[in-house]
Symmetry: C2
Subunit: 468 residues, 2 copies
């Protein structure tokens, strides 16, 4: 007690910063802690969190199981086949990104892409005919996630499109995504002209079959090692995939050379792969779904296993609640625009690609990729470290395999916990491309967006009902 | 004056730290500056530095010219051809790394490699016969640097070996290096068994011609862009080349596919390239020489344009002094060893690969590659930043193209200045492989080594004679 009183007071301020500011003004040293009441002081949410707190130990055990499933899966790229074969996808079905979407609520680029996909398949000759098929229900429009797949931006998948197949060898489950089309006018961003369809036909007729033949000779390419290596090389694997794309291209060279029967076809595929730094994004997404699917259905687990957007709604799925969607209106991304474009042209947030944030990559791994923070207008090294530090507040733990040299080998934050999101009010940050809100234009920029809190509060309500 | 005296004294301590330590002990805040007398207080060197200081403006202008030549060259990988064609290399000549080396002073792995290279060329049937050729002068042993080339470790080049050719398109000069053999038992580390020769024959008969045919169709691959990208991906391009190797492999895929007439030969080359994360090292070295050669011969410039080691001597060349060597005994590297090996087995420092430190990569760029600092036993993020900060003390400026995301886009230190090295006593740090001191073993580890100060003091003497 004597020693306690023998020194001047040392002051820690919690919460409102006006006290700290005032003490600072008169020269008194003060440590300010940015404390806020849980759940922003909302009594209903605080009560729900309190109910879950009573089951804390049970939830902790469940989340440990779910986290282990999420981070210790063993994804391998094993094949490339038409969606018809790989996913059992029927004709006259168009898969899209995000949670279920009624045609009447779909945004412009989503509508344009759906109609273009129908024309590509030859189910209609023009957009008007295609739209009649959709409106009559003669073409069904369903989420990729309901068919074992994920798609970037609009996320279009139809039966004849080749999809890359990832097997999670720890659990035996598979997931798929289309071949990334590259930049410029591409279907996933809502472009819909003849060049889009021509590229899709080449992918189906030449590139996909050659990739598939090569992959089937490899016995599977170990993606966990490749992705861990890419994180060490500055990829967060959402906005930046140059390392993963190059590593995969290098790994594919010899199998492609062995599988190719036509040197010119091989050269065309090689040039296509080499010309697209985002080639790996779709592989990362398929790997993400293959890793996250086994997290679904762990009783009492509050970890998120899907985040996805359809341009209208943002949806999440939570482990204990299986495949139930919790949705809220999507936010607008903030970022940098290509010349001639700006925020007024931007479509709301879009795509299944937030699966990479769900598994501990993308914006949550920004510390691995300070160049991305700069690219999306979010600052430099300090800001990239801060982004990852903030995301650490809402996850279960650090990823044991995705380790960041700039963090002295600490892992990326992984296993988003619904409780932590609601309690802190910190919503998952997502790196994203920005599509034009107008059909036929394509990508106009890149940036960062937040998942809407309302998905997580809705999920918390359901968790409090379920975990008793 | 009143305001100066109106506050308590603020203390800065220069030089000996005992004063600072004592003040710290009694609780007085003190800023300690680790000042040391120039050139370690050596009066002779201080006098030489003083003489050069009289020509400061002239030297500054010359170094600006030399620095511009060093950092703004435009290296392009244009070809792969036998050294006979690319370098005009005669039969019965063996090129080695480092400054000129008398056979009697050569270390074991260097001797083993020279004799193996002679057997590979068929100039002798066994080591004894090969050694007689060297001792009689019937085979000449000369530095790579005297023939427009560079070689890693022992640096062996003979006439039939294919070399990768880099053209500096800003100046029209060319430089070359062999194809990296991969890891394990390889000629450059002094291994010399049948497997070494078999691989060399495959490189000459199949891999080299295919690479050459592909490269000649490209019009040249821009290496400045590729290397700048690789620095952003965690390569310092001496110890770590995984990014540059992958980017180059990806860029070569389509040209190789177009050039190949035999799918199996293409597959063998692709597997070889994909299996070697250090494939790019030799390309970086050839690019380094192509970038550094134009720096030779700028009157009054004190910048270094060559650092090279032959396992016995370390040699440097300085711009104003053209191609004159300044040598001193090489140091021993310190680092980490493969299981079963240790410092007692290590050969002294070896190889032309310090050309990458000469152009602003390797250990001087450690901040770009914290994983390397860890790999060579030199710490983590803080130590990698400190290494680059220390090297900044002895260079002309920061590289305008090799920029480091972890440094918020600052460039790597480039243009080692003989004056700064002698004045500070800070010698260039070099990342290096460690060869066994015994013939036939190969690589036993990797680490860090310092250039010997005596090369720089000798060069300073000559500069003080030349610049008047």
């Amino acid at each position: 007690m004597m020693s306690l009183l023998g020194a001047p007071p040392r002051i820690v301020n919690l919460g409102l910063d006006v006290f700290a500011a005032e003490l600072g003004r008169i020269g008194v040293p003060v440590v300010h802690t940015d404390w806020r009441p849980p759940a922003g002081g909302d009594p209903r949410l605080a009560e729900l969190l309190g109910r879950l707190a009573a089951a804390h130990d049970r939830i902790a055990r469940a989340n440990a199981v779910a986290f282990d499933r999420l981070v210790n899966g063993e994804p391998a790229l094993i094949d490339c086949r038409p969606a018809r074969e790989a996913l059992g996808l029927a004709d006259r079905v168009v898969l899209h990104a995000g949670p279920p979407l009624d045609w009447t609520r779909a945004c412009e680029p989503m509508r344009a892409a759906i109609l273009c996909a129908i024309r590509y398949e030859g189910w209609a000759a023009d957009d008007a005919g295609a739209q009649r098929l959709v409106e009559r229900g003669d073409v069904r429009v369903e989420p990729c996630h309901h068919h074992g797949a994920v798609g970037p931006m609009t996320g279009m998948i139809t039966a004849s499109m080749p999809v890359l197949v990832v097997e999670n060898r720890r659990f035996g489950n598979r997931a798929a995504a289309t071949i990334n089309e590259g930049l410029g006018k591409v279907l996933r961003f809502g472009a819909n002209d003849a060049s889009v369809i021509e590229r899709l036909r080449w992918l189906a007729a030449e590139a996909g079959p050659l990739l598939g033949a090569a992959l089937r000779t490899t016995g599977g390419i170990d993606l966990r090692t490749l992705m861990a290596q890419a994180v060490r090389m500055g990829d967060e694997m959402h906005q930046r995939n140059v390392a993963a794309s190059s590593l995969l291209a290098r790994a594919l060279m010899a199998p492609l050379a062995r599988a190719a029967t036509d040197g010119q076809a091989l050269a065309r595929l090689a040039a296509f792969v080499a010309g697209n730094d985002q080639f790996y994004l779709n592989v990362a997404m398929a790997a993400g779904k293959a890793l996250a699917d086994p997290v679904s259905g762990v009783p009492d687990s509050t970890l998120v296993h899907v985040m996805a957007r359809n341009g209208t709604d943002f949806g999440i799925r939570v482990s204990a609640l299986g495949d139930r969607w919790f949705t809220a209106p999507v936010n607008m991304p903030a970022g940098l625009y290509f010349p001639g474009h700006g925020p007024d042209d931007a479509n709301p947030d879009l795509g299944d690609s937030a699966i990479v944030e769900t598994i501990g990559l993308g914006a949550v791994a920004m510390a691995a990729a300070p160049a991305v923070a700069r690219f999306v207008g979010a600052g430099g090294v300090a800001e990239s470290l801060a982004a990852t530090a903030e995301m650490r507040e809402i996850v279960h733990d650090e990823h044991p395999h995705f380790r960041v040299p700039a963090l002295d080998e600490r892992g990326t934050p992984a296993g988003i916990d619904v409780r932590r999101v609601v309690e802190t009010g910190i919503t998952p940050m997502i790196n994203t491309g920005i599509a034009s809100r107008n059909a036929g234009v394509g990508q106009i920029g890149a940036g960062v967006v937040r998942a809407p809190l309302a998905c997580f509060t809705a999920a918390l309500e359901a968790l409090a009902e379920t975990i008793r």
